[in-house]
Symmetry: C2
Subunit: 377 residues, 2 copies
């Protein structure tokens, strides 16, 4: 395939794969696509390790990194006191609600005091300081793209990426945000529809992509949200996108580190089984509907906190829930979930990530062939 | 263009236009598409008039009718007592809330007692008896399609359509509903994504269309929801649809009977300016966000009633609001709204309906051409 994005990023197919799993990133890059590692869950040291591993496995082929630098987070996280400030800002009733959930679903609770501190360390990665460290680690590797997953890329990110000669991508959910991101220096816009997994707005991919393509032309736009097949890739390019950005579809690949009970749920889920909920990060993020999302919406819920406080409450709990679910706890299985888009309904078999790329490219070609038959008829 | 749907329905372009306005229906049919008149707002006598007019203006070219036969409506409407049963089922607080809205927004209220009875007559059109009358009127005309807009087409509709040799279409928002509709006798499925105007589910067009195409093959599927341009038409066919079904895009055409203040709002609206709300019909329907939808979501709201009771409360009020808005009342302008999908953000100029068809077909061809350049590159 020959597109501007293919030429510019040195890839065969304009297919970008967002994953927190280095094996997926390397597999997609090696198959002719462009793997992008989601860095938010990593400490700087761990990210360094992951990127070194990728460098060793892609033979110089292009890959990128995605960091989460939200525009607005709870002010306790930026106050400078680090973990202590954040922990102090979490009301006791949230820990009590969490303890109640563990009891109700018969999940042995983690050591909350210990968990709090380790979770809070995770919370620091979305602060400006935390994200800045991840950016520095990333730019020291031969990456071909740095992406800002949420909010305008901060000047610091754009400056350092420019200095390193690395293009900057930004994920957006509205045309207005796209305009702002381009003004802030984004070289590539990812137009992400509301059907996407993770943090997302409400405008669908079908409407958002042509809107943003018209808004930011000639800046190239990748379509994201609801894309797991070659037909959807062809649809995205028909809408005017220069390529696609897929996240969910990798979660059920052989390589994915998705906890097995969650993988099973995803394979069985229909497109109706997701919900946009603030219960994992504090910002609306699409994920599997489960007892976890239901309880946080329920009458006993104290309501989700802001980001990153809700992450601190949720992530340690989900680690324990996944562990117990994996060893068969039925209550933990009810609670278990993960970020995924509506295209989870189309994810019904486990394949190697490489095969997903090849299948998408083949189905893309078939879809274009079908369109030709229609117009030539 | 040559598709199975084109051959089967005797049209040049697989573009179906849903409209309550006979001029739009005739214009699209005459331009080579397939116009479908939404019958729900009409009494049987009025529908007879509209269809006679269309017959006189399309020179034998194909068009269809869409009736709304909801699966579940408020039981008062089916009790047999007609208007009185329905009016008795509406709590006084809903009329009081409505009167309060008129006062707050400085809109002279209609004669509520008179309005109640005329609105309730509208409510009877969505009962089984009311819909049945509209079906009979429709099938006495040379229509090429009868569509069920909400819920499984009732056996009565399928039987009478079969006897008249008229194909039956059904609008659906999930793969499960599509399967049920085909089992009930639907010949054509309209897969309508959550970005659509009017009654809609939550799964986006990008995900829903391939899901339903796979579910009901070889029954043909039209894509609906978010489609207002030729790029989106090409995307829909890339997804596997056999054609598209558009509703919103006609609302800002020259022919449309959209109240002028609402048309102005639509031309100015972005894709963010819609909301799924029960405030007009009692079932979730996407429409322009306005003071009307905000107030029904607000703290003073008694909550929307079921269908058709909420229609009785809302429709008479909206008629008065539109009238006052048209003569410049600022409060009425704030309240005014109408059903429309997220693609309202792409509807920025007033064109004849014929021109919308031609532009979509031309842009469709351009999109396919662009896809070819990508694959051949």
């Amino acid at each position: 395939m020959d597109t501007e994005v293919c030429r510019r990023f040195g890839i065969e197919f304009p297919l970008f794969a967002f994953s927190h799993c280095r094996d997926v990133v390397a597999a997609v890059t090696n198959a002719g696509g462009f793997g992008v590692l989601g860095a938010v869950a990593y400490t700087p040291d761990r990210l360094e390790e992951e990127l070194r591993w990728i460098d060793d496995h892609v033979g110089g082929r292009p890959y990128g990194v995605d960091v989460l630098v939200p525009g607005k987070i709870d002010e306790s996280a930026e106050r400078g006191g680090g973990l202590d400030d954040m922990l102090a800002a979490i009301p006791a009733e949230h820990w009590a609600f969490l303890a109640g959930l563990f009891e109700k679903y018969d999940v042995p609770p983690p050591d909350f005091e210990k968990a709090k501190r380790s979770n809070a360390r995770g919370g620091t990665q979305v602060t400006k300081r935390g994200a800045s460290e991840l950016i520095d680690v990333s730019l020291a590797h031969p990456i071909g793209l740095i992406a800002s997953a949420l909010g305008t890329p901060p000047p610091l990110m754009v400056e350092r990426a420019r200095a390193a000669g690395v293009p900057v991508a930004a994920l957006v959910g509205t045309a207005e945000h796209a305009r702002r991101q381009v003004a802030a220096g984004a070289d590539l816009i990812v137009a992400q529809g509301g059907e996407a997994g993770g943090h997302t707005g409400e405008i669908s991919t079908m409407v958002l992509v042509p809107e943003i393509v018209d808004e930011v032309a000639p800046v190239p736009v990748l379509a994201a949200g609801g894309i797991a097949t070659g037909r959807q890739m062809a649809a995205s390019l028909a809408l005017g996108a220069s390529g696609v950005w897929c996240g969910s579809v990798w979660l059920t690949t052989e390589e994915a580190e998705t906890p097995p009970p969650v993988k099973e749920k995803m394979l069985a889920a229909t497109s109706r089984d997701t919900v946009r909920s603030r219960s994992r990060t504090g910002k609306p993020a699409r994920q599997l509907r489960s007892a976890w999302t239901d309880e946080w919406e329920g009458p006993a819920s104290p309501g989700a906190l802001g980001m990153p406080l809700q992450m601190i409450v949720a992530e340690g709990a989900m680690r324990q829930i996944n562990k117990v679910a994996e060893s068969g706890g039925p209550g933990a299985r009810q609670l278990a979930n993960y970020f995924v888009g509506q295209c989870v309904g189309l994810m019904n078999t486990v394949k190697p990530a490489r095969q997903v790329v090849y299948d998408m490219v083949q189905e893309f070609a078939d879809a274009v062939e079908r369109l030709n038959r229609i117009t030539e008829g």
